[in-house]
Structure formats: C-alpha cells, structure tokens
Symmetry: none
Subunit: 218 residues, 4 copies
DNA sequence: GATGAATGAGTTTTCATTCAT
DNA sequence: CATGAATGAAAACTCATTCAT
C-alpha cells in the first residue's frame, strides 16, 4: 500500500529562518528515531524535542513520513560524501591496495552513524528504508563500476556492471550483518581482511580451482 | 494502548482446535501483511480475514506483535526446512558441485515466498525483521560451518566459522539486493554463476593475485 | 466541495445493543446541535454527552458528518410521519376545508421540533441541510399532487405537478421566515388564515382580476 | 483557537488604500466561498487568493467570521440596489403589470449571483446566513408594503404589512427551492407566470371560491 | 502598516486491548 | 471458550490568530 501523500516539504525553505527550522526538525527527528525508535517517533514528540510547536512541523513537512524521509536523505547524503571522498583518492593504486581502500571506505561509512543507519535499516517500515539504503549504494556503484572497467585487463571479470553489483551487495551484506549482530567486529582488522579477500579473489582471473559450473573441472 | 508486553504466545496451544486456530491466525496475518502491508495489519483486520473475532486472537496471542513474530517464525521454519533438505543431500560432492548446490539452495529459499520475505524484510518495523532474518541464516550457519570444517584441507581458509559468517552475509546481501531491485534476476543462471564464483574463489587456496594485505605482493 | 467519505453508518445495528447505541448517539448529537450549534458539535463532545467513548461513535458512524446526517434523517422521518398522518385523514373534504387542513398540517410540522428544524436550516453547512429539508417536502409532494389531480375540475390549475411545487415552496417559504423571525406567529390563527387564503386563491379558477400576463385585461 | 469575538470590522477603513484592501479581501473571500465552500474558506487561503499576507487580513477584519459577514453584506447591498432600481420604475402601472414587474425583479435578483446566493444560503453556518438573507428581504419589504398600502382599495387585503410579509416569504420560498433544485426553471416564463398568479390571486378581492375559514360557505 | 513564520489548542480519527455476555 | 461491542489513550493534522521583524 503506497502512501497517499506527497513526501516532500510543503514549502521550500528559502528564508534563513526556515532553513534553520528544517534543520532543527530533521535533527530532532533523528534524535527521536535514535532514542525511541520509529513507532515512538510522533510528530508531537519531534516538535517537543525540536523545541517548536507541532504546527511548525506541518509548516515544512506535509506529514510524518516526510520527516523520516528527510532524515534518510540527509544520512544518505553524508554517506555519499564520505564515500566519494575516499574513492576519489584512489588514484592508480595497484589492485590489492585499491580493493583494500574500497573496503575500508565502505567500512568507514558504516561507522559514520552506525546507530542511525541501523534504525533506518531495521525499524523504518513502509517507507522502504532498506530499498533506499540500497539506492544509496547504487549511487556509488558507478564509481566502482568505472574503476572495474578501467582495470578490466588486470581482472578476471567479463561484465564490470554485474561485478560491481555483486560485490557491493556482498560487502554490504556482510557489513550489515556485522553491524546488527557483531558491531564490535567493525573495529577489527579481521573483517577488513576477509572482505578484501572476498573481493580480490572474486576479481582475480580464475585459476585452476575456481570454475563457473559444477561440471567444470578442477 | 497498553504498555509493552511479552511477545511470546500466552499459552501453548495443545488442543487440536487451538492449533487450528493458531494456524488460521498466522495464515490470516500473512495474508494481510502481503496484501496491505504492516501498517494496515491491525488485529481487527486479521481477525476479520481469519473469520474469527478479535477476542479469539487474544486468546492465543498476547498482542499484535506476537502475531507478526509468529508469521516470521513460520516463514523461517519453512526456509530452514528447505535449506536442510537441500544441504543434507550434498553428500561428498566435490567442492565446486557443493558450492553450486549451496548457492542454489539459498536461491531456492528466496524464491519460496519472495513477497512475504520482502515484506518482512522491508516493512516490519520495531520487531527487527532484519535481525531476525539474519538469525534465520544463523540457523543454517552451523551446517555450512561444519561442511567447511570437513573440507578444510581442500580450502584456503583458516577459520571456518568466520568464513561461514562472511559467505552467508555476502550471498544473502547479493540476494536481498536482487530480490528488492531486480527480482527477475532470481531466475537467471547468471546470478547463480556469479555467486558460485564469489564463494568458490573466496574459499580457494590463495593464489598469486589474492593476498591478505595491500602490502602483500604480487 | 463534496465530502470524500461515505455518510452512512459503517455497520448496521442489528443487535439491540447496537440500536440503542445509535439511538443514544443521534440523540446526543441532536442535543449538542440544539445547545451549542454546529461548529461546537465535535465528535468528542457528542461522545461525552452520549456518555460513551469516542471510539463508540466511530463504531457506528464513519465520521462527524454522518452523525449530523443521521439527525437530519430522523428529523425528516418524524416530519414525514406527522405529515402523512394529517393528510391521510383528509378524505373527501371540500376544497376549503382540505386546504385549511393541509396548511394546518404544515404548520404542525414546523412546531414539532422548531428549534432543531431551525438549527438544521440555519447552521448545518456543506451537508446541505437546506437541500435536504427541501427533499423532505418533496416526499409529501406526491400526496399533494395526487390530491390536486383528483380535484382538478374544481380547481383553476392546469398542471398539478407544477402547482404542488409552487404551493409547497410558497407555504414553506412563509413558514420558515416566520419560524426564524417571528416564532410567536406560529401560534396565531392569522398566519393559518393567510396561508389558506394564499393557497386557495391560487387554486381557484381565475376570475376577472387574475390574469396570466400584464397585458391581460380587465 | 480564540474565544468568541465581535463580528464587526475592527476599524473603519477610511484610508483609500485601506478601502482597496477591504475590497480585495471581500472579493477574495467571495471567490474562495464560491470555489471551495465554507469549510475550505480559511483565513490563510483568503489571504493567498487576495495576494496579501494573513496579517493584513487581521488588520481589517477581527476574525474569520467578519470576513464572511462582509461578503454577505456586500451581496445583500447589491441585491438591494437591484431591487430598488426595479421597483422605483414601477410608477403607477396597473395591478397586473406591477405584480409582474415585482416578481420579475425578485427573479432577477436571484439570478444576479445565484451561486453565491446559494453558497450563503446553504453553507454558511453559525453566522445564520438564512436569517440574514431574510433580513435582506426585509429591507425591501417596506417598499412593497408601501405600494400595497397605496393600492389598498384595488386590493382585497386588510393588512398591507402582513400581506407584504406573506408574499415576500412565499415568492422567496418558491425561488429558493427552484434555485436549489431546478436552476433551469429560473429562465422559464412558466415560473414567472405562476408566481405572478400566486401573488395576484392572493391580492385580489375575494371572490366566491376563496374564503377565510373552512366553515365559510361558497 | 505589512509580512508570514510560528503557535498550540483543539479536531478528527485509529486501533490495540478488555470484558460482559 | 468465543464473541464483538466498547473503550480511550494517543496519533496525525488543522487553522484562527499573534507578533517579531
């Protein structure tokens, strides 16, 4: 059941006062989400925490959902920035280094606001946080894809696009699992090493033991 | 609105009629979840669809949440069964075949009830569906771990437990992404091949091009 | 702007308890309408006055509007009954007597619940109380029309349907004006006499002084 | 929501700019009333349509209600003007012509702004639009009364004041019914003829068939 | 004066849960 | 046990009005 209301701010905050208001509200929503979870994140509560009246919430956001969407968008933007920063510094490092860096970047990102990331991932319902977080990844996918394309001849892949898709899914999968179940591991080198290995071996030209089909030989 | 309460069934339904009732309710909840999403899944609606009165719902489930939990548990159990079935037939297939089979099993499982899986993944909020689905995977993790342990000498891994954890996260991550964004791919051999490659190359003894650290050579 | 919601009860009160509830709610709405007017007639206030909870209101009425509609319908039904009763006793009285009776009936009806009639007439907004009250009159129109038809040869009219329409509008107009501005007159014989005269002379065969066009002679 | 307040303008707008402002606001209110109905007629919306800020509204009108009252008053004034114009041209036309003219005038008036008239009649709640519209009629009542007085000896009436009251109520009743239910009829000669007949026969000296009481003979 | 952002009391409406029958 | 009417706390959202700029 799709939402029946627009999820975009009802007026663009052109004035500085307005911008501040929006800022405050998104901030407050984030705080409430973090502290009390999605269900307890009511418009009145948000207004309270923001130190403004409910009316003001509705001056800038047409409904509750749009508030959460705004939080997600802000979070995504932050992740995106962090990601781009890291990846753009890759330059022409060798394969191994590059992969290590990329994995490191993704790890970093998860650490940025792990609790928020988790709440959005876990608790935000119909809005489809999961989907949206995937979309976030899709945004840096092109960068990874481009890199794979550029290093194609060193790699054992035929379709950089598919490879990027698989790798992002895989790393993200491991990371989200770790984030939810073993947050401590995020700090460990072990995780980074294993992910690097996962990526690197996937990208490497196939050697004797890795084949495409069960009937394929050793 | 009552305060927070336990999310386990109020009593073990030992009677035959009771069991039927529980069955009917879980079924109805599943249907509502599928058709209208989590937010529209009210206890009255479930009772309606189940063809019983709200009161009866509370005879077997202490609150709304426990209903959804039951749906998740049933879903998980089904997945689990499917998984075990597949994996137990592995026997002593060679590495490549075995991996192919395992990946195939996980793909199967996703196809079992993709819509429900998706709703639970996407829409069920506070209950922490994501976490619980991870837990599901954790349940077959031991099997994979055991298998890895048994084939340790053929593989390039040092810690089967970690390897299982990483691999499950990775495959699951790719699959959930595909499920949400490109459901069509589930049918394609391409996906299976790529996942097999991912797993196989990760498990293979390290060859020249895959190393543990960026400083490590080739 | 038409309302976007159904204005009919959400469940039919088949049980006696239910019927009582509906009764109580309509009664309470009437009381509030009478005492505080339309704008002050909130669902919570109605529930309060009815001595039940808001939830119960919504068990039987989908929204506020439907409550008021129910009040109007009950009021109309009462008027209708009163009207039919009076008119059915007309038998084959002579013209003058019959008209006197009819006018008397309409007067009676206005006296039935003059304050409620007035509130509905005056204060109920978009629901179109005015239109609906006209519709009430339309319901007894056929009876008047039939009577005119039956006495056609004694009368100076050509189209009983039009005549009924005009007469009802005229009498109703005078009465509603009196009701709003000079309620005291309702008791006076003067009013009844004048209305009788109005109707009677309109129905009488045209004599010298009444013509259809300004150019018409005498 | 503030408590009840006076419904008269806060200050007499004597300045030229002020007058323009008032004009613009009343116009805007009319437009909103016409387009969206009473409930959607919010002060902010009016300000928007008027192209000014809400604050300005409150510079000239103490509250929302006074805005609507102003619309009514302007409408009434327009009707009044139209009526007076027509009636003053009557001169010493003969009875039949005069009545025809008067009925024509009332019909005209209904056609002036039928949609607005209707909205005010139907939708404006507590303000008591109906009562006020009656008051409008009361304003030209003296003119009609005077005319009846002047022609008393040609007529069959004893109390011109009562006669005027009854006639205005009657014609108005028919017209408002037609306006609400059969707007098309406003254009038809039929209606005018019937109303003329209604008035004329009422005013005519009583002939054989019209008597004052049921016991009165033919 | 004009502006329009901010207010917040007040409305409508929902829904998990209870309990008398 | 089953029922479903009743509950009522609480949520989302509105809008007349104010007041700092």
């Amino acid at each position: 059941m799709a939402s029946r209301r627009r999820a975009t701010p009802r007026k663009k905050p052109v004035q500085r006062r307005s911008k501040a208001m929006v800022e405050v509200l998104v901030e407050a929503t984030t705080r409430v989400l973090l502290k009390d979870g999605y269900e307890a994140c009511t418009t009145n509560r948000v207004a309270d925490v923001a130190g403004v009246s409910v009316g003001s919430v509705y001056q800038y956001f047409p409904n509750k959902e749009s508030l959460v969407v705004a939080v997600m968008e802000r979070h995504q933007a932050q992740l995106q920035v962090a990601m781009v920063e890291r990846l753009s510094q890759l330059g022409d490092a060798d394969l191994s280094t590059a992969v290590h860096e990329m994995v490191g970047a993704m790890l970093e990102v998860q650490r940025l606001q792990p609790r928020l990331h988790r709440v959005l991932l876990e608790q935000v319902p119909r809005i489809g946080a999961t989907r949206r977080l995937h979309e976030l990844n899709s945004e840096y996918a092109p960068m990874i894809e481009a890199w794979l394309e550029a290093h194609r001849d060193e790699l054992g892949i035929t379709n950089p696009s598919v490879a990027a898709y698989v790798l992002i899914g895989a790393v993200e999968g491991v990371l989200s699992r770790v984030l939810l179940e073993k947050p401590g591991w995020l700090e460990l080198g072990l995780l980074k090493d294993q992910l690097t290995r996962l990526v690197l071996s996937y990208l490497s030209p196939i050697t004797a033991s890795a084949s495409r089909s069960p009937t394929a030989p050793s």
